[in-house]
Structures are given as structure tokens and as C-alpha cells.
Symmetry: C2
Subunit: 142 residues, 2 copies
DNA sequence: TATTGTTATACTCTATAACTATA
DNA sequence: TATAGTTATAGAGTATAACAATA
């Protein structure tokens, strides 16, 4: 196979990411959760109740921005805020029954177009994608 | 190697993409070009002068949105608009000298944090990333 | 009638700044 | 003094709607 120049490959990757970002945003308009909202539900599902500040740190966002996201999820009835037992400043965010159901639906790969699309790729392409995901995470955290 | 459940891998990939999107946006604030602006410059560099409507189709955006992007690039002196020789409705967007210089700088992988970061990965990781880029583009266009 | 482009307006996501309450 | 959270405001990126000019 003939190798492309490095810059061409980077340009193509950048373009793919750009298209994907807009595709994700478009899906959001279609009554799906936003990327950040999905990420928050997944975190709460995996790690149990967390505070807004903790969620912000995990997702590399400002606490005020995460506050808005959590507020939207709360308004949608997917999460609830309860006072921290010992620290009066903190509010613990946790999944509601409806939020937990939403997560299960996502895991079925039926409700999220991206999970659904990935599930239709062959095994090797899925492996490539997941491996790239880990590399991209390292890049993002740099 | 122990395989993770599919849903876990999808969740991790989604999280990586989310972090990356925010990282790209943060870089934009630091006087770098936005992702879309970079994509437009790359297109014009590769394919020569194009109209706003053509650029919009290529990038899966509405012509009005692309008009704003092109307007920003024009204000920055990176592109110019010239009347189409035969079709009075169209304006051809092309790189200015300054815009062409900007593209060369990007190709040096010094000005763009993402190109720079990728250049520091080992060859195999770069291959994985570029292969994933092609898969992601297919997903985005679905 | 279809297409190119412009202008006006609005929405989402995230940021900064200023504040209160608690530790 | 530091941390958790809220509220107000702003900016970037994109969308929809309504319009003018040209094909």
C-alpha cells in the first residue's frame, strides 16, 4: 500500500473529526442527549453519585458549565441532586430511575446512532476505532 | 488481552471524542483557527477556488453557516472573494498570500497542536489513528 | 422556478466574572 | 482562605427564515 504524506493524513483525520462533530451535534437536535449529557450519565452509572465539581474535573469543564449540563439533565428528570451527608456545601448528583433506564437503552445500542453505527462495523474496524479512542484520549489530555 | 464489553468500549470512545472536542475548542480560543476554518483553508489549498455553497456541501453545513466562516476568514485576510467569470450569482473563494502561508505553517506541524501531538506518536499509533479517521468519516457520512 | 448569497434572529455549549454559603 | 454552588453575561458555531439578485 502506498503511504500518503503525513500532512495529508492529518488533514484527512481533521476533516473526519470535523464532520463527526457536526454529525453528533445534528443528532442532538433530534431529541437525543448531547455528547456531554451522555458522558455524565455514563459516569454516574459507572462511578455512582458525584458532585458537579467532580464531574467538571473528570470532563475537563468549568464547574459553572457542568452546572448547566446537570441542570438540564435534572430538568429532564434523568438525575437528582441530594445534599451531601457531611459537607453542607456539596450536592450529590445521582441517576433517577428514568436516568438509569435511559442508560440501559443506550447500552442496547438502539437509541444512540453512534453506538448503533459502530455495532454494524466488522470486528476489526471496531478494534481499530477503540484503539484510536485511547490514543485520542491521551492527545486530548495533553 | 481481555476484551471489554462492547458498550464499555463505545462509552470510552464517546468520552475520548468529547474530551477531544473540548480540547480543540480550547485551542481555538488560543488564537488558533477553528476546526472548520482549518478545514476550509485545507480544501481551498487542495482543490483551488470554490464557492461558499460548494464549501458548505463538502463540509455538511448550511450555506449561511459557511458564509459566516468564510466571512471570518476574509476578515482575517486569509481568503478573498472574487466574482465568478460567467455566473453573476457566484463568488469564488480563494486563498490569499497570507492564507497560503498559513497553510504552509500548518503543514510544518508546528502551529497546530493536534498535528504536533500526532507527529510525536510512534508510527504504529499514527497508522491506527489515520485508519480510524477513515472509519469515522464513513460513520459521519451515514 | 432553482440557485447563490445576505441579513436577521435564535439556540446550544462553554467560558469568565461576581456572588453566597459552608468548611 | 479555599471550595461548592448559583446567577448573569458573553462568545463561538451553527441553524432557520425571509429576502434580493441572477440563472
Amino acid at each position: 500500500m502506498s503511504r500518503k504524506p503525513f500532512e495529508t493524513s492529518v488533514a484527512e483525520l481533521t476533516q473526519s473529526l470535523g464532520l463527526l462533530i457536526r454529525r453528533v451535534r445534528a443528532a442532538t437536535d433530534n431529541h437525543e442527549l448531547s455528547l456531554t449529557e451522555s458522558m455524565v450519565l455514563a459516569r454516574l452509572d459507572q462511578q455512582g453519585p458525584l458532585t458537579t465539581a467532580e464531574l467538571a474535573r473528570i470532563e475537563s469543564m468549568k464547574p459553572q458549565s457542568m452546572g448547566a449540563t446537570v441542570g438540564a439533565l435534572e430538568e429532564a428528570g434523568l438525575v437528582q441532586r441530594t445534599p451531601h451527608p457531611t459537607d453542607g456545601r456539596q450536592l450529590l448528583v445521582s441517576l433517577t430511575t428514568k436516568g438509569a433506564e435511559m442508560r440501559r437503552a443506550f447500552k442496547d445500542a438502539k437509541r444512540s446512532w453512534i453506538a448503533n453505527a459502530i455495532s454494524q462495523l466488522d470486528k476489526q474496524e471496531q478494534e481499530t476505532l477503540f484503539a484510536a479512542g485511547e490514543i485520542l484520549r491521551r492527545l486530548a489530555e495533553q
